[in-house]
Amino acid sequence: MNIQTLTKPVLDVQNLVVTYYTDAGRAKALDDVSFTLRAGEKLGMVGESGSGKSTLALAMMRMIKPPGRIEGGRVMIGDTDLMQLSEEQMRQARLSRIAYIPQGAMNSLNPVTRIGAQLVDAIRSHGIRDSRSQVEERCINALKSVDLDPATFRMYPHELSGGMKQRVCIAIGILLQPAVIIADEPTSALDVVTQRQVMETIDRVKDQINAAVILIGHDMGLMAQFVDRVAVMYSGRLVEVATTREMFTAPMHPYAAALISSLPNLENKGVFQGIPGLAPSLLRLPGGCAFHPRCARVMDHCKTVRPVTRTVRGDRLVTCHLYDAEA
C-alpha cells in the first residue's frame, strides 16, 4: 500500500460516461466512473451481467460502437489522454499501450491462419520494421513466456486446447509490452485447473513487463486469489473500491457484502444465500441509489437521494449513504 502512494499512476480514468441510445430510451451504461491504477498492480472489476464491466473495458479501448457513445471523461495512460487521440493514433495505441483480451478470446483466433502469422500480423500492423527473423524471434519469446512450446508458432488454432488458445491470446496481448492489460473474463469457459494455469501465466508476464492488469469477472473467489484491489460495479457505477483484504474482511457497501456472503466456502455447506431481486434495467433505474430495492440496509433517503462516491478510511472508495457521516 505504501508503493501505491509513492508512484504515479500508470492509468488514470476520470469521470467516464457512456450512454447507449436505444429505441426504448437512453441507457447510461457507465455513470461517472473514476479510478487509478499503478504499474504492476492488479485490479479486479466485478459485478453482475449488465453492470457495465465490459462497457468500461470497451470505453477504455475506445471501441464503443453506435448506438453507444462515450459522452465524456478522460482515460490517461502516462501523460496521454486516449480520448484526445486521432483514430489512427488510437489504433497504434491499442496493443502497444493498452491491450484488451476480450471475453471468449480463444474463439477470436483465425481458424485458417497459423498462430505465428497472427502474432506477426499484430507486430507489423504497428509499424515495426524489424527483419523477419527478429519479428519471429520476438513472437516465439512471447509464446515461451506464456509457457507454450515454440512449435506452437507453426500450428493452427484447432490443434490447441482451450487453455492453450487462451494463452496464445495473452501472448498477443503482451507482444508490444503495453502499460495496461485488460482481461475480460479470461477463464470463464475453462475448468479450474486450466483457470489456475492461465491466471498464473498472466501474473508472470505482468511481472516481466511491469504492466497493470484489470481483470473483469464475476467470480469473487478468483478475485480473492488473484488481484490486489477489487472494484465492485452496480448499474454502471463503481459502488466500492478497496484492497482485496479489506474487501473480503470488511466490505462496506451492502451490495459488496451480499456478493461476498453469497459465495460458497468450506464452512457454510448447504447454505444457499443469493441476493434477492434482479439487477435493474439500465433503462428504468430506480430513483436514488440504484441498489435500494434489493438492499438489506435501505434507509428512507436512499430512495430519493443519489449517493455520491466518497473516499473514506484512507483510500477506499464507496458510494453509499451509510458512510455519509464518515466522509
Binding site: V193, Q195, G221, Q225, L259, N265, K269, G274
Partner: protein, 340 residues
C-alpha cells in the same frame, strides 16, 4: 430394492475417421447404481475432456455405449421402443450448460413449456396446461406473470436457466441430468439455482446427477462424488471426505485449484504440469502429470478402499484393500449423515 438406473461396465470409444484410425477412450468401464426409493444428488466431476458430458449423453440415450449396458428400471435403454421409450424420455430429463442456446429466439419462453405438455399429453385443456406451467414456474421461484409471454432476450441468464429447470420439473422426472447448470450464470444467481435443484431432490424425490468441473458447488449440493480423469474413475466417495481430504493426486490438484473466496485459503504453490494432448496409453491416465509417479503406474491401478465412503485408484494407497469397479456404488452415501 429396485434400481432406478444401473450402469454395467460402460465404456465409450470415439474413433476418428477412416484413415486415421486412432481412437479416443472417452469413458472406461464405469459401473454405477442409483436406487429407486432413495433419491440422491451425485456429482460427476472432472476437467474438460474427462468424459463428463459423454456420460450425460449416454444416460440420456443420445449415444450408445461401445461396451456395457445402461439399465433404466430393469430395461436396457438401447432396446426401449414405443411407449416405454416415451416414458423414459419423460422420466429422465436434462438441464444443459448454456441457458442462452436452448431457447429459440423467435418464440416466447412459453414455447419451451407448451411443447412438452403437448408432446406427452400432460393436459387436456388449455387452462389445465396453464395451471401446470404456473405450478412448475412457482416451484423454481419464478413468478409466472413475470416470465410467461416474454421473449428469451428479455430474461436474464438466471431466469432462463430456472425456466429450464421448470421445464424438466413439469414432466415429473425420476432422474435429472444437470450438465454444468450454473457455470454460465452470474455468481450471485448460482445460489438460487442450486437451491432449486436441491429442493427438487428433497421435496419431489428426483435423483440428480450433477455434472461439473466446479468442486465448490458440488460440495454444497451433492451427497457423493465421482472424480473422472480421461474417462476413468480416479476417486469416489462421500463429498465431504473427498473434498476435505482428497487422496488421489489428481483430486488434490483439483481441490488445490479451487478459487476459494477466502484470503487464508490460497492456491497451492506447486507448478502444474500441462496436460499432454493425444493418446492415453496404458496405465494410470494421470501419470504423465502426477508429481508422485512411480514405476508401477504404467499398469492401471485398481480402486483402493480407503474408508467406508472413500476409494481412490492410486498405488499410493495400495496398503488398503482393493475393490472391484462394479462395487463402487456401495461406497457412495445417498444421504449425508447430518441431514434431517
Amino acid at each position: 430394492m429396485t434400481n432406478l438406473l444401473e450402469l454395467r461396465h460402460v465404456s465409450k470409444t470415439y474413433s476418428r475417421g477412416l484413415i486415421n484410425t486412432k481412437s479416443t477412450v472417452a469413458l472406461q468401464d464405469i459401473s454405477l447404481m442409483l436406487k429407486e426409493d432413495d433419491p440422491t444428488i451425485m456429482t460427476v466431476a472432472g476437467e474438460s475432456g474427462s468424459g463428463k458430458t459423454t456420460l450425460a449423453m449416454l444416460l440420456l440415450g443420445f449415444i450408445t455405449p461401445t461396451t456395457g449396458q445402461i439399465i433404466y428400471r430393469g430395461r436396457d435403454i438401447t432396446t426401449l421402443q414405443g411407449d416405454d421409450r416415451m416414458a423414459f424420455r419423460r422420466e429422465v430429463q436434462a438441464v444443459f450448460q448454456d441457458p442462452f442456446a436452448v431457447f429459440n429466439p423467435f418464440y416466447t419462453v412459453d414455447h419451451l413449456l407448451t411443447v412438452p405438455i403437448r408432446q406427452f399429453k400432460l393436459a387436456k385443456t388449455a387452462a389445465q396446461a396453464r395451471d401446470k406451467m404456473d405450478e412448475a414456474l412457482t416451484a423454481v421461484g419464478l413468478r409466472p406473470e413475470d416470465v410467461l409471454g416474454r421473449f428469451p432476450h428479455q430474461l436474464s441468464g438466471g431466469q432462463r436457466q430456472r425456466i429450464n429447470v421448470a421445464r424438466a420439473l413439469l414432466l415429473k422426472p425420476r432422474l435429472l441430468i444437470a450438465d454444468e447448470p450454473v457455470s454460465m450464470v452470474d455468481a450471485s444467481l448460482r445460489a438460487s439455482i442450486l437451491e432449486t435443484l436441491r429442493n427438487l431432490q428433497r421435496d419431489h424425490g428426483v435423483s440428480i446427477i450433477y455434472i461439473t468441473h466446479d468442486l465448490t458447488t458440488a460440495y454444497h449440493i451433492a451427497k457423493s462424488i465421482i472424480v473422472l480423469y480421461r474417462g476413468g474413475v480416479m476417486e469416489a466417495g462421500d463429498v465431504d471426505r473427498v473434498i476435505k481430504s482428497p487422496q488421489h493426486p489428481y483430486t488434490r490438484l483439483l481441490v488445490d485449484s479451487i478459487p476459494w473466496p477466502t484470503l487464508d485459503q490460497r492456491w497451492g504453490s506447486d507448478t502444474i504440469k500441462a496436460r499432454e494432448a493425444g493418446g492415453s496409453g496404458t496405465g494410470c491416465p494421470f501419470r504423465s502429470r502426477c508429481p508422485m509417479v512411480m514405476d508401477q503406474c504404467t499398469t492401471q491401478p485398481p480402486l483402493y478402499r480407503i474408508h467406508d465412503t472413500q476409494a481412490a485408484a492410486c498405488y499410493l494407497h495400495a496398503a488398503h484393500p482393493s475393490i472391484a469397479a462394479d462395487r463402487l456404488t456401495e461406497l457412495l452415501p445417498t444421504r449425508a449423515a447430518a441431514e434431517v
